[in-house]
Every structure is written in structure tokens, then in C-alpha cells.
């Protein structure tokens, strides 16, 4: 009898182990499917890229039209401007702030930084570029990463030939209390060797947010566990009464 029990137990354990191994193998197999698909996609992509390059290199060699090519594949002289004055001549572009010069807010609040960019010389067409804001912590004397502060990092201004001001606007969330200075910068497209055009600065004072009971969270946070403890206590008492524990 003991021997039979022993054999049964052994059979059970073997079966359990087999099932466990099968489950682990299945899970591993499922996990390898994405890897195989990824490898397949990568191979396809590599093959396609090689085909593109093989097609493009003869075009480059023959000096054919390469305007549709990625910038790195264009012949180098086309990327450089013809004269230095063309790159540095940016005095006709002006950045102005239309928001108040001092902003006071509470952490968590949303504010708007507004400004406009003007091209004062109609003879020079606006070549386009990127306008962005810069935020500096005045107390810590460090620039602030805008990741949490603003979803709109930079605004692309397309090439336009007008002298009217183009409005710029950023929605900024005041994340941390402190004193900050904000300014708008503009990098003209293609002018890699000159400094960005900067606006005047805005002083931003952010005071801390005091949260004691926002949205009436306190009654819920303390109330729900208290109610549950009370209910279970009553249930336990009724049960105790029935079974004679509290008699």
C-alpha cells in the first residue's frame, strides 16, 4: 500500500513538473515570437536601405538632380551658403514679448508666454526657423529642462515673405516654486554659424502650492478604511453573538 502511494506521489510530482516545464517553454516561445518578427523586419529594412544606396550612388557620381536626397547624401558645396553676409545678416529680424514682463503664479498653474517675431526688411525674405523658449532658474543659476513645463518645445516658422509680426505662444505649466527668467529664442534656418536671436526676458515668480485637502480627498482617504473596519467589526460582533463568543 505504501509502495503504491509512493508511486502515485512520484507520478503526481512528475506530472506537475512536466506541466510546469511545458508552461515555461510555452511562455518562452511566446516571448520569442516578437524577437523573430523584429529580426525579420530589421533584415528587410537593411535590404531596402542597401537597394536605395545602390540606386543613389550612381546618381551622385553623374551629378544628377539630388534635391530629393537626404541632406547627408547631398554634395557638400550645395550645403554651404555662397557668402558669409547671407548667414550673419539677421539684424532685420526682431523678437518681442507681448506677455507681462513679470509673471506671478502658483505651482501647478498654467500660464501663457506670448511674443511675436517680425521681419523688418521686406528685401530679405524670411527664411524660416525655429522659435523656442528658454527657462533659467535664477536661484540655482541653472537652465531648466522644459520636459515637464511645456508640451510645445519649439515652434517652426515657415519661410514667408511678409513684414507683419507673426504671433508666438507657449503654454507653460508652473512645475516648481522659485524665481525664473524666460526668454524667446529664434534659430534661423540654415544659419549654423551665428547666435540665435533673443527676446528680452520675463521674470517669473512661482510660489509653492499648499495642498491639504484638494477635491475632498481627506474624508475619502480616511473614511473608506474606517467604514470598512466598522462594517467588519459589526459583522464579527454579530457572528460572535451567534456563536456565543460575546455572550
Amino acid at each position: 500500500m505504501l509502495k503504491v502511494d509512493g508511486i502515485d506521489k512520484f507520478n503526481d510530482e512528475t506530472q506537475s513538473l512536466t506541466t510546469l516545464i511545458t508552461i515555461v517553454v510555452c511562455v518562452l516561445l511566446i516571448l520569442t515570437i516578437p524577437l523573430v518578427i523584429q529580426k525579420y523586419n530589421d533584415c528587410l529594412q537593411v535590404l531596402n536601405n542597401s537597394k536605395d544606396l545602390l540606386y543613389l550612388f550612381p546618381q551622385l557620381a553623374k551629378g544628377q538632380n539630388t534635391s530629393h536626397l537626404p541632406i547627408l547624401l547631398k554634395p557638400i558645396p550645395q550645403r554651404l551658403p555662397t557668402s558669409l553676409s547671407q548667414i550673419t545678416g539677421n539684424n532685420y529680424i526682431k523678437l518681442d514679448i507681448s506677455s507681462p514682463r513679470e509673471i506671478h503664479g502658483i505651482a501647478g498653474q498654467f500660464i501663457k508666454i506670448k511674443g511675436f517675431i517680425t521681419n523688418n526688411d521686406p528685401k530679405h525674405p524670411f527664411l524660416g526657423g525655429i522659435a523656442y523658449i528658454s527657462l533659467v532658474d535664477n536661484n540655482l543659476k541653472v537652465p531648466v529642462d522644459l520636459e515637464d513645463w511645456s508640451a510645445e518645445k519649439g515652434l517652426y516658422i515657415p519661410s514667408v515673405n511678409i513684414t507683419q509680426p507673426i504671433p508666438l505662444e507657449w503654454t507653460v505649466r508652473l512645475v516648481k516654486a522659485g524665481s525664473y527668467s524666460v526668454d524667446i529664442l529664434f534659430n534661423k534656418e540654415g544659419s549654423y554659424h551665428m547666435p540665435p536671436i533673443a527676446s528680452s526676458r520675463i521674470l517669473m515668480e512661482v510660489s509653492p502650492k499648499l495642498n491639504l485637502n484638494p477635491g475632498n480627498v481627506l474624508p475619502v482617504a480616511f473614511g473608506v478604511p474606517a467604514v470598512l473596519i466598522g462594517l467588519l467589526g459589526v459583522l464579527n460582533y454579530i457572528r460572535g453573538k451567534k456563536t456565543g463568543v460575546y455572550s
Binding site: 506530472q15 510546469l20 511562455v27 516571448l31 523584429q38 477635491g215 482617504a221 473608506v224 470598512l228
Partner: protein
């Protein structure tokens, strides 16, 4: 008819020890929602993101509790020697497994009801409360049903609580891995995208994100996330039906 279900459920509510889980869960919800609303940095999150985080905690807690509960439901009876007497009750083997499943789903429903005030308070001032309650309920119920079904099947097959709990926790961790352990850059790779596309938990998390953060609340906008979760639950049901057709215990052969 549902004697076993009642017995299982009373075990989870009728004593301090049995009901400690619900107080523990409510304390976790209290802590999470209080921190989300009052912490200096967390309170700066968008309200939709706060709700999304709370909904994630509710679903994840429900899954872990249900998995732990269901994975020992048959094996613990076998280990303690009470399963033979349970089989003497004039109900089918499938009915035994189903009634145990109902009790686990009922426990999730209690947990979900307890979480509703927290969802409402975190959503106060927005129009997201109803969407948060509905989608958390739908995804939680589907995933918890699926996980419980497969847990009961594994528990019946392995006949060892230790092994079945370990196996289920491993499965749960794998399901939760893309949402918890993967950085956003890894999620964007082909591997991450494909893994997320076959993972029901990722679909639930991504859908909650889409509903609560991006406010895409229509069911038609979420259908791409809903059907993989339904498919997962159906696959789990199939495995459950196969493995609970007839229970085998020691010496029955």
C-alpha cells in the same frame, strides 16, 4: 446550489483574518490617491494622468490578489485532504471550479466597489469620473476573470499550491512587465510594439491611458484594445474548461 460559493465567500469576509485584504486594499487606495493629490510633485500631474495611475493600481492589485487566491484554490484543498470530501458533494467537477471562480470574481467586485470613491475624488472637477469607473471595471473584470480561469486550471493540474502560485505569479509578472518594467524608448522598438500588441495587460493599460489622458472615451476608439482582452479571456476559458472537466486526486487512478 451555490453552497460552495457561499462558503468560499464567507471565508473572505466573516472574520478579521479573512477580511484583512479589503482593509489593506482600501489603505493602499487611500495612500495612492492622497499622495497623487497632495504630494508636492505628484500633485502637478495632469488629473487624467493621476486617474490613469490610480486605475492601473486598482487593476494590478485586483489581478495579483485574484491570481494568488485562484492559484491555490484547488491545490490547497488537495494538500489539506479536504478535496475528497468536496468531490462527494453531488455537483459536477466543473461546478466546483465554477463556484470557486464566482467567489474570486465577487471578491474583485467588492474591491472594485471600494475603489469607486477614490476614482471619483481623484476625478473631481473633470468629466473623467464615469469613464474611469466604467473602463476600470470592464478591463479589471475581463482580465481578472481570465487570470482566475487560468489560475484555477493550473492549480488543478499542478496539485501543488507552491508550484501553481509561483507559475501564476510568473505569468502575471510577464503580463505586467511591458507596462511596469519597460522604459518608453524600449516600448517604441519593434520588440516592444509587438510584445505590447499580444499582451492583454498592455492593451488594458494603453486603453486606460487613451481614455483618461487623451480623453478618447468612445468605445469605438477603444475597440482595438478591447478585443484582444476579450480574446485572452476566451482562451483562458477554453483552458479552464479542458482542465476542470475532471479533477484527479492522489490514488484516483
Amino acid at each position: 446550489m451555490l453552497e460552495l460559493y457561499r462558503h468560499e465567500l464567507f471565508g473572505s469576509f466573516y472574520s478579521w483574518r479573512g477580511a484583512a485584504w479589503i482593509i489593506g486594499a482600501s489603505l493602499i487606495f487611500s495612500l495612492v490617491s492622497y499622495l497623487l493629490l497632495t504630494d508636492k510633485e505628484l500633485s502637478l500631474l495632469d488629473q487624467g494622468e493621476m486617474l490613469f495611475n490610480l486605475a492601473e493600481v486598482i487593476v494590478a492589485l485586483g489581478i495579483i490578489m485574484s491570481a494568488a487566491n485562484a492559484s491555490s484554490t484547488i491545490s490547497s484543498e488537495i494538500e489539506s485532504g479536504t478535496f475528497e470530501s468536496l468531490l462527494l458533494v453531488p455537483i459536477s467537477h466543473k461546478q466546483i471550479a465554477l463556484q470557486k471562480l464566482y467567489s474570486i470574481i465577487t471578491i474583485w467586485i467588492f474591491l472594485y466597489i471600494v475603489s469607486i470613491p477614490y476614482l471619483i475624488v481623484v476625478a473631481s472637477g473633470t468629466t473623467l469620473a464615469l469613464a474611469a469607473i466604467v473602463y476600470t471595471g470592464v478591463y479589471g473584470t475581463l482580465l481578472i476573470t481570465g487570470i482566475s480561469l487560468i489560475s484555477i486550471a493550473i492549480s488543478a493540474k499542478l496539485k501543488s499550491s507552491k508550484n501553481s502560485i509561483m507559475t501564476i505569479l510568473m505569468i502575471v509578472l510577464i503580463l505586467l512587465a511591458p507596462s511596469i518594467f519597460f522604459a518608453s524608448s524600449l516600448k517604441k522598438t519593434n520588440f516592444g510594439t509587438i510584445l505590447e500588441s499580444i499582451n492583454p495587460m498592455s492593451h488594458a493599460v494603453n486603453s486606460l491611458d487613451s481614455v483618461l489622458v487623451d480623453t478618447e472615451q468612445s468605445i469605438f476608439q477603444q475597440i482595438d484594445h478591447i478585443w484582444p482582452i476579450v480574446a485572452f479571456t476566451l482562451i483562458c476559458l477554453l483552458i479552464f474548461l479542458v482542465y476542470t472537466r475532471r479533477f484527479e486526486i492522489k490514488g484516483s487512478e
